[in-house]
Point group: C2
Chain length 116, copies 2
């Protein structure tokens, strides 16, 4: 078992390597299908943007989690991630009717340790 990647950037320096978005969603019980449909339509925008690498949309095994759905998406760089969030089309997809029911908590990360 080895570390495939180990990189700790000093805080405060600009980030140039790959980044990972971890975005948690509050989804009321009984509205999973509605959320998932909306999310799929929105994610089609992001997966077409330059620098997009991958995503995994997760749903909690148990229903008692505060944030039952979590998207983990990787991008080539923070600059690519920011650019994808600065377009007119971005503003249109994230303000689509329905999203107000599913508050999210997006945070951007770097991978410090990876084990495969």
């Amino acid at each position: 078992m080895i570390c495939a990647e180990q990189r700790v950037a000093a805080n405060g320096t600009s980030t140039t390597g790959p980044v990972t978005l971890i975005n948690q969603f509050r989804v009321p019980e009984g509205r999973d299908a509605e959320f998932h449909d909306l999310w799929e339509r929105t994610s089609r925008y992001f997966t077409r943007q330059p620098g997009f690498r991958s995503l995994r949309l997760h749903r909690a095994v148990n229903d008692d989690a505060v944030y039952r759905w979590v998207n983990v998406a990787t991008w080539n760089s923070e600059a690519d991630f920011r650019a994808a969030h600065a377009t007119e089309e971005f503003r249109e997809v994230v303000t689509a009717p329905g999203w107000e029911a599913f508050p999210s908590s997006p945070v951007l990360f770097e991978v410090v340790t990876a084990v495969d």
Copy 2:
């Protein structure tokens, strides 16, 4: 861009496929090195357990996140994950001195949509 895996289990049914742990940690500013050292020692236990697949330890790009460190780990099954959390060695590593300073919020998920 295609979905490499798409699997939505009905709520309430038992989970037999792969699972993903997303574990968030509160780490006070200035204590990153102390947390990371403790986490590396603990993760050595988990990466040796049957059914462990992979992990990515993430640190937030910005310091204002509530949970600045997040571990995303995949396991072959929920049964493997539970077994790894039911041993005497598990109890020893997670009660090691130091952990009380870094509260965590672990939640178990299934992957619903994957795009690579």
